[in-house]
Symmetry: D2
Subunit: 341 residues, 4 copies
């Protein structure tokens, strides 16, 4: 942390701020510059809150130098974390694909979709049993019945299943039925839920909040890891911007940026970002080429009758074609990535 | 809902889409235009999900016409909702002020601040006992001990107390100690928490999510009202934008916009938006002049030693001066507002 | 400028970066920290481009410490710049109001509006003769004819007139007719136009770009001042955000933030930010209370027939009422502001 | 255009609005709905300005139905526009790459870079002679001398050259030296410059404004086409968002969205979006896989000594490796794209 002082701060002014810093248990080291003094804050464990010093008399700016996270940081662990689930490994340079409908609607539906996505090469199945919906009047998911259908999918197809958990109350229930827990974008900073996920034995997919900075997202992962669960997979799903031609703006830059900061695997969900099928396909190719550690893609057997997000779901045939192209892209990129890291 | 078709869609194409709409139980009425056909969707109860029709062959765009909310809507209830708490009324044209520190730190601290803000004219006291923090290593609040201190504040000063509840697990506890429940910005779409708040007897302050559209915010309030609690107060606290000169961008336009759409009272929290004291004061004046139904302002007796958000807290003397100016502004504006509505 | 190195950078690594910095003519001073080294860059004239050092081997981050602007900076000139135009002074604590229609449509129109806004207390008249329009098919303004009408307004009413200049080609023409030159939001970084304005004798109103950071805006003003024109007035007019309930998001925080960084006066245009009349009025009150150095408000005698932006124009009667309230607010705030600065 | 009325608007209220619409020369057709009336506006040539009707008594919302652009629209021309420059064709399914340094610094520099990028497969050379810089104190480019160096590059290597033109004053000069005119992000709505470009015989690369909606960008292209120049190439270069891990957020969704709306080719500039080399490479792969009609990539022979944007420039060897991978990706995608359109 660097506390930059106003030009012309007197020596007493500098000392007053030094005292305030040291009162908080840190070491303060004044750094005289050309026309102003800065004070470095040293020997801090964890992060220092800039807000402590902003607004003090004579303080112009407070500049954080080190990052506040630890366990998630690549400085803490240089090698990629690899999360293994069934036949999938997230973080080893391959790109496992998780596919399935937005919401579980019926046993026939999920079985039909699961069989076709498995055939196309998906390694995990997704489907929502509890759905976070903007409106209380929208379809909220089948609940435990949906979880049972997901279990049946696993038994019948062998695919591990992923579903979202929306609250601590239902966590035990969801954990009992599925292989991977998803924390949704609206809950990225639901700290109680993050802590509960940290005490789970299940791997966790942590979606990025709609307006989360990379650092906030990694701090959310830190909440999970700090409780003992290190099987965290980050999932970029689009951020909120001024743009209106897509539902959200898929922020692909965050993939290399996250890999630089953190050892955790990061996957991409092009379906929720785009919101329309025409954009999902090219964004899936782009994410494959980018070097994402996996993808999550919505597939529905009858998108035009889907209870939720039909417009962004691929038809099974489209998904099969997309998987083929993505695998081909991936085989080219594999080496390229090796060069980058 | 208006489904706009591509130019040159054939009569059969139109009929195919009409059939899909009617299969979902709606009435479809084609509206031939100059060079293209649109289809109106009628007789829908609740809202229609645009995603059902977007992406269908021949569909160019789907345009929602009516708003998806009901109970919160001014069309549903024309008169302002008035929420009465102690001596404060939110929604009757006055501007009650809620003041206090970001976090409860000690009994002395809260008592000292409460006495001075009461003297300055604040009608409610705020203080966090459970703090949502980006980092798991930051101060997380005193928990139940903090709630007890808040109770003592009420006993000693008579001021009703407001605190944030972060999860359903602690809801009963918080509800037992405080007068007003606050749902924080990160939990605006924590639907389980909203539902629980809807079953509470306490008034609820619902902060706007950092990237929430007005409509999403009103839908979150709808979750609370739909469970039976109609004492909901909206609180604007800044949105996330590209801007770096303030922590968030206070969106004052949302106050008149929300009042137009909804009968619920809407207050402003200039402290969290600004993040620095120098901006809090002018934004507080601005919010008073704008016609906000209340304000929530952070005050700390020793901001430079605060455990959380010291930089944005006013000194008690500043707060007293600010209250005086705000009351004067308010007396001018009262009439102006009468003209507007 | 602080160049922060990766943890574990060797002494040779540090020296390699020192050499690169010194090759560019700067002085490099390594600052060993707890677990990593940073290098301060000293004796730089003007600003140092972070991009020179970002991306070098071993460099983790580059943190600018000093601001890149000079002439516009409050560190360079502590007292407020006061821009005097007719009876108005921008920057002396008063709040002169510029009023008029979006576009000059006819002589009758501008004369009628000018007379009524003058009577209500406006000190300058505005009207567009050259209109920047998103579409080439929209009304583009009356051009020189419009400028002549503005001249007539000045002769008839004594009000100085303000109009936008869109390009260097028309600058001489516009300069010949009007008292104040406005540079619009889309041209905030049209550097040739800024330089031309810097060589003008006319005061310049520089609107903020729709997605301009404060620093970029001040740098645009620096372009004007650097050519010799120090009569620059900043004008906040709303930024582009994800929000859809208003045309743009009026960023009132930028007013105190700009005043802190710069000595230039800063005014607010609530009309373009809001886009609808219902929001313009409360935002005008808010801007008055905030301490803005002036306001620019659209008024039209027949908003429902306006050729441009009718929805955001006030009726003359509304404007008169708004002026009265704003003056009252202002008289309260005057003292408050004195306290703040 | 659909004018949606408030619930409970009387028949006279409806007729009053009908009269206002017809006074402007349009046909108004009331459409009674379940609980409110809407009025369709028909027989409009060009677009109708929503602002005319927003804010009228009884009007709740104004919803545009048709798009305002014509010449750029895919409804106007179904086949892709193909822009041919030297050996490159933009818009035929191939992906020509434009490469070179941010700024022209010396003849040796540009010749050295041009030779290596040509060898790697680039089909055009780029380099800035006039540089738009946020600060008046930053390097502004070599001006005409730089243009001469670009000419020499073309003579020596046979590569057509691209450079940015910043104003109408220098347009003739730039046009005389280079093959392709670039309009930069800050000038996307410099309408005088767009019109001048529309009267040029040179193809134009139109970069997207930092906060431009797709529709505004297409309208900017409409300005160029309307003057007679149909050789317009759109270039996505990142938008401004709240994100801080990259300079801008590359909005890849805009590529399929623009192709749907318009027949114009659209290319991607990953260098300016990312701002750091580590992100440029994966984003270049992503853009190739996405189906972009071309790319513009910065390459510098000595990035660590570059006068501008060194951090985002690839080393020549990196560029060669990237080209190889991109071509391989492209050969896979070619067929995929055929399926999509």
């Amino acid at each position: 942390m660097l506390v930059v002082l106003e030009k012309g701060t007197t020596e007493e002014g500098v000392q007053a701020i030094v005292r305030i810093i040291e009162k908080r248990g840190y070491t303060a080291r004044p750094i005289p510059g050309g026309d102003r003094v800065s004070i470095g804050i040293l020997h801090n464990k964890g992060s220092v809150d800039a807000a402590h010093f902003l607004g003090l008399d004579g303080v112009k700016e407070v500049i954080p130098v080190t990052k506040p996270y630890k366990l998630v940081s690549r400085e803490f662990q240089r090698e990629n974390t690899q999360v293994k689930i069934g036949d999938a490994v997230f973080g080893d340079g391959t790109m496992p694909v998780i596919a399935g409908p937005c919401a579980v609607e019926s046993l026939e539906q999920v079985l039909s979709i699961a069989r076709s996505v498995k055939k196309a090469g998906a390694l995990l199945f997704r489907g929502g049993a509890f759905k976070p919906r903007t409106s209380p009047y929208s379809f909220q998911g089948l609940g435990e019945q949906g979880l049972k259908f997901l279990s049946t999918v696993r038994e019948e197809t062998g695919l591990p299943v992923v579903t979202e958990v929306m609250d601590v109350e239902n966590f035990d229930l969801v954990e009992a039925y599925v292989d991977v827990i998803q924390i949704g974008t609206r809950n990225m900073q639901n700290f109680s839920l993050l802590r509960r996920a940290g005490r789970s034995k299940r791997p966790v997919i942590l979606k990025r909040g709609m307006s989360a900075m990379l650092q906030e997202w990694l701090m959310a992962a830190e909440y999970i890891m700090e409780e003992g669960n290190s099987n965290v997979i980050l999932c970029e799903r689009g951020i909120r911007t001024f743009v209106r031609h897509s539902r959200n703006t898929l922020d692909l830059s965050v993939v290399p940026a996250a890999k630089k900061e953190s050892h955790l695997p990061i996957i991409v969900d092009p379906s929720h970002a785009a919101g329309v099928r025409d954009q999902v396909i090219p964004l899936a190719y782009a994410s494959a080429a980018l070097g994402a550690d996996g993808q999550m893609i919505e597939v529905h057997n009858k998108p035009e009758e889907a209870l939720s997000d039909g417009a962004q779901s691929l038809y099974p045939d489209q998904f099969t074609a997309v998987m083929k192209k993505m695998n081909a892209i991936r085989s080219i990129i594999a080496t390229a990535n090796g060069n980058n890291e």
